[in-house]
């Protein structure tokens, strides 16, 4: 009899949505929510709020791993987290830690979820869609791999078995030399078929030199918190933003509640809307500008919603905004994230 433990966040465990994201870990008997759709017997379900995990990772892990140690499952199943970054990160992290302690683990999430990297190759990740409509497709595939891991089966390469590459390299003798394979890939690319034998990481940029003289520098504020003027005049999306927006800060000394709001769909905006300076510290920056700590605040705020944004889109936004800032002679930036 295979013993399975399932990890869920507060939302999928039915404890509440964003308002419950700060909830501490808990253990429930049997299958909960999506766990019932796995088609395998779930002995226990571990739950943790997404914000709690991100902000108290050590305590969360201690609690969750403690329960895993007591339960001694044959396999741990986490998620699916789809496109949810905090949830994916929690899944990848707990899966990694469980695997390192001898409990094989399977996660489910979208290939661009930051949680994929959190697993650090120790656990298996089944690729899913980036939204909840992918649930019916994801569960059986996660369960299938979980059964095999629990049975101690040897798992083949990612391409054949349908999980995401774990960043591990196994040497094998190829039929052709690298030179021949490279030309084959190039010819295929010219025909419009793009393949790669290894994938690139997020690009690394060396840290820029320190700002030489802050008291003379122009500093800009940028945010992915979904901050917009009240009423969201340009219809910034709550997720999958298609664009970033620029709003004037001339004559604005602080972000007054009621004049600004956040439309970000990935966190509970109650605290932010009560005082938008909690997302973008305009009030403090203006004070520091008056005191001469910085030369001046750049007159434009750049904003978007960083929620389920494809990596390529986010990189493009960053490029566009950076170009604007560079053209405007900005020397320093504070970027706030949620």
């Amino acid at each position: 009899m295979v013993k399975v433990v399932h990890y869920l966040n507060q939302f999928f465990a039915g404890r509440g949505a964003e308002e419950a994201a700060g909830s501490a870990p808990l253990r429930l008997e049997g299958a909960v929510g999506p766990g019932r759709g796995l088609g395998i017997d779930v002995a226990a379900t571990l739950v943790c709020g997404d914000d709690y995990f991100g902000e108290h990772e050590e305590e969360a892990l201690e609690q969750l791993l403690g329960w895993l140690e007591e339960d001694e499952p044959d396999v741990l199943v986490c998620g699916p987290a789809f496109g949810s970054g905090r949830y994916g990160y929690a899944c990848g992290t707990i899966a990694r830690e469980a695997a390192r302690r001898g409990i094989p683990a399977v996660c489910g999430m979208h290939p661009e979820n930051p949680g994929v990297m959190a697993a650090e190759g120790a656990a298996y990740t089944i690729p899913t869609e980036d939204r909840v409509t992918g649930m019916r497709d994801a569960l059986p595939r996660m369960a299938a791999l979980a059964r095999r891991l629990a049975a101690g089966e040897e798992i083949g390469a990612p391409e054949t078995e349908g999980y995401l590459p774990r960043g591990l390299r196994r040497n094998q003798v190829a039929g052709k030399t690298a030179a021949v394979r490279a030309v084959d890939l190039l010819l295929a690319k010219l025909r419009g078929v793009v393949n790669t034998e290894t994938t690139a990481d997020f690009d690394r940029v060396p840290p820029p030199d320190p700002v030489a003289d802050l008291a003379r520098a122009t500093l800009a504020l940028v945010t992915e918190s979904g901050l917009v003027p009240a009423g969201n005049p340009d219809r910034l999306e709550s997720n999958r933003a298609h664009s970033w927006f620029a709003y004037p800060l001339t004559g604005v000394d602080n972000l007054a509640p009621g004049a600004y709001e956040s439309v970000h769909g990935g966190f509970d905006v109650t605290n932010a809307n009560a005082d938008p300076n909690r997302l973008v510290p305009l009030d403090v920056i203006r004070a520091l500008e008056r005191e001469g700590r910085i030369g001046r605040l750049h007159e434009t705020l750049y904003t978007t919603t960083g929620n389920s944004t494809p990596v390529a889109t986010a990189a493009k936004f960053g490029d566009d905004i950076a170009q604007r800032l560079r053209d405007a002679g900005v020397q320093a930036v504070i970027l706030t994230g949620t």
Binding site: A21, D51, G54, E55, E57, G85, R86, Y89, P114, M117, A118, F202, D203, R204, V205, P206, P207, P208, D209, P210, V211, A212, L214, L219, V222, S225, F267, D268, V269, T270, N271, A272, A274, D275, N277, R278, L279, V280, P281, D283, V284, I285, A287, L288, R293, I294, A332, V333, I334, L335, T336, G337, T338
Partner: protein, 66 residues
């Protein structure tokens, strides 16, 4: 650039270089649990730390506490 976020590990994974730990996901540079004057003082400390980080040399993917 300094990136203020309550989830610095994710920031590190995607390659940000100057990372300052924010207060919480819902309020990176604020704290609704505090009295107003106290919260303003906290925001000020965080921003001043960010300015210090901007003016300091760092290794890649460096995280500072506020």
């Amino acid at each position: 650039m300094v990136f203020i976020t309550a989830l610095p590990t994710i920031a590190t994974m995607v390659g940000a270089n100057r990372i300052l730990r924010g207060v919480a996901v819902t309020n990176p540079v604020g704290d609704p649990q505090r009295e107003r004057a106290d919260e303003l003082a906290l925001r000020r400390r965080i921003v001043e730390r960010a300015l210090t980080m901007l003016a300091s040399p760092v290794e890649a993917n460096t995280v500072w506490e506020a």
